[in-house]
């Protein structure tokens, strides 16, 4: 079943148009999906969250506290927005969810105007400069680049404004995402490290080293309507996106020198890259796992080509060159994945 069919099944489920059997299937699937990646909350976080969330619900519904008269208009408007959001939930299945990120865009579209009182760090030296932020995150600011940031991060989001190039290491605070504003490009992270290069004329690029990053275009125009042209792009380690502002385009690709993903601590042994008579697809899936990059074999005849090689201590593209040389094939980077084409190995011996 393709993703399209599956998504259609989910749609029918939400519309209540499933057979009993299909319904069970979806519910079983739902019953076991689990995101192991999200950091767990501890008890004190939960205690803080309870009143915070309630305050937000209260302000959106107007429940409990009746607002003073002069605030009534604002209140009504918010309430209306609440209803609109609510309608989306109720009509789930008929309506496409308005992505949360886009809401943020319009909400914070005026960020660079709100930076009064923020610290401006301009790197006038000729070497990269470390900047430490209030939450423990760091930015390594390249010469000639400027970072604007608040003395302390208040509110539910951490926001900084960058001009030029910088490498960020963001402390993990899943409940308080970190936003970097670079011109009209917004990079959202939960806790990760990544480069932003806005100094070049070729366009802004974001390269991910660890974690996950969402990149999207900021609302523009007088009405601050979210731009309809670019959608949010989610980047994983070793992937990058280049933003072409004039074309409102986000183009994804791989970084120039992919790095191996760091292993969880319990698995201290790094993967072995010494292969003896190992089928090609096994070798490639080892590489895929190590770098988190998908590698595709164009011709299934290549799948089982036996490979004997020591690929240790080589960079990814060198490893690929060796594999291709041994199997008489070629590789190409297509977007964020690598495709290897060749004839198969029946004629290699």
């Amino acid at each position: 079943m393709s993703r399209k069919e599956f998504s259609f099944l989910l749609k029918q489920y939400l519309a209540g148009e499933c057979t009993e059997e299909e319904k069970k299937f979806v519910e079983h699937w739902f019953g076991i999906i689990r995101n192991e990646e999200r950091e767990s909350l501890d008890l004190s976080d939960l205690e803080e969250l309870e009143p915070l969330m309630w305050e937000k619900i209260k302000s959106r519904t107007g429940a409990v506290a009746t607002p003073p008269l002069k605030k009534a208009r604002v209140f009504v408007w918010r309430w209306a927005a609440g209803v609109a959001a609510a309608a989306l939930v109720v009509l789930a299945g008929l309506t496409i969810f308005k992505p949360g990120e886009k809401e943020r865009v319009s909400q914070y579209a005026d960020i660079p105007g709100k930076t009064a009182g923020w610290i401006t760090k301009h790197n006038r030296s000729d070497r990269p400069e470390h900047v430490r932020l209030a939450d423990g995150s760091t930015a390594v600011l390249d010469p000639g680049s400027t970072l604007l940031f608040p003395e302390a991060f208040s509110g539910s989001e951490r926001q900084v404004v960058l001009t030029g190039d910088a490498f960020f290491e963001v402390s993990r605070m899943p409940e308080k995402p970190f936003f970097v504003y670079t011109g009209n490009l917004v990079t959202k992270v939960l806790g990760t490290s990544f480069h932003i290069k806005a100094g070049s004329e070729k366009g802004v690029s974001v390269e991910v080293v660890t974690g996950r990053v969402a990149v999207f275009e900021r609302a523009s125009g007088p009405d601050r309507e979210p731009s309809a042209k670019t959608e949010e792009v989610i980047l994983l380690p070793n992937q990058k996106v280049v933003y072409f502002e004039d074309r409102h385009e986000l183009v994804t690709g791989l970084v120039d020198k992919p790095k191996m993903l760091s292993r969880p601590e319990q698995e201290t042994a790094s993967p072995s890259f010494i292969f003896e008579e190992v089928p090609m697809h096994t070798v490639l899936s080892r590489l895929e796992q190590a770098y988190g990059i998908s590698i595709e074999l164009e011709n299934s005849l290549q799948n089982n080509c036996p490979l004997t090689a020591d690929l240790s201590d080589l960079a990814l593209f060198e490893q690929l060159e060796m594999i291709c040389a041994a199997t008489k094939s070629r590789y190409a980077v297509l977007g964020t994945s690598i495709v290897i084409s060749g004839e198969g190995c029946s004629n290699l011996n």
């Binding site: 489920y13 939400l14 309870e50 609440g82 609510a86």
Partner: protein
């Protein structure tokens, strides 16, 4: 009036009359569990707190339109639908990075692709091998979010037995639904 002493159904009655204190009591009773479920099931890029807030706002806005006899059940069902809807829309619209990785996983399987209906039938038939009791416990645990303790007293069987049935069902389902877990795993991490 002490709202803490009221049953869910009584709270629902007050809610229908626009009683904000009843609404707050419903929030206190359910927010944490709802948030926990959203946190385990939503893709990393989705904010669980926002989703839970939406649910409660909906409950309040719709309080006189929907016959909510059991606010808890209503909230859990809404949450399930909202989460499923996120996946639905992502499967359809997330055209970016993850698609290539996912496409790779699937292109390899094209030869043994089976029609949707056959597949569902086959999964359900294989699940039919599990005892009725296991089914019921799985539903109570994973779809109605009852705790092991609650299920144990509800069905009058030891907690360890409950755990055993849950493990049994989850293990079997993981195997049968492997492809559909991989399909969404790309939204979790890679």
């Amino acid at each position: 009036m002490d709202y803490r002493a009221l049953t869910d159904t009584e709270l629902a009655m007050h809610l229908r009359n626009g009683d904000a204190d009843a609404f707050q009591e419903i929030y206190f009773r359910h927010w944490k569990k709802l948030l926990m479920i959203a946190r385990t099931k939503l893709p990393l890029t989705d904010n669980p707190e926002d989703l839970i807030q939406d649910l409660f706002v909906t409950l309040w806005e719709q309080r006189d339109k929907i016959a909510v006899a059991n606010p808890g059940a209503y909230l859990y069902t809404s949450l399930r639908n909202a989460i499923i809807n996120r996946y639905r829309s992502r499967l359809l619209h997330e055209k970016y990075v993850v698609q290539t990785a996912e496409a790779l996983l699937f292109e390899q399987n094209t030869e043994d692709e089976i029609a949707l209906n056959d597949l569902i039938t086959s999964v359900e038939r294989q699940l039919g091998d599990l005892p009725e009791k296991t089914h019921r416990i799985f539903r109570l645990s994973r779809l109605e979010y009852k705790s092991v303790k609650e299920i144990s007293s509800l069905m009058n069987i030891p907690e360890r037995t409950v755990e055993h049935h849950i493990t049994l069902a989850v293990r079997k389902l993981r195997l049968l639904l492997k492809d559909y877990l991989i399909m969404i795993a790309v939204f979790f991490n890679l």
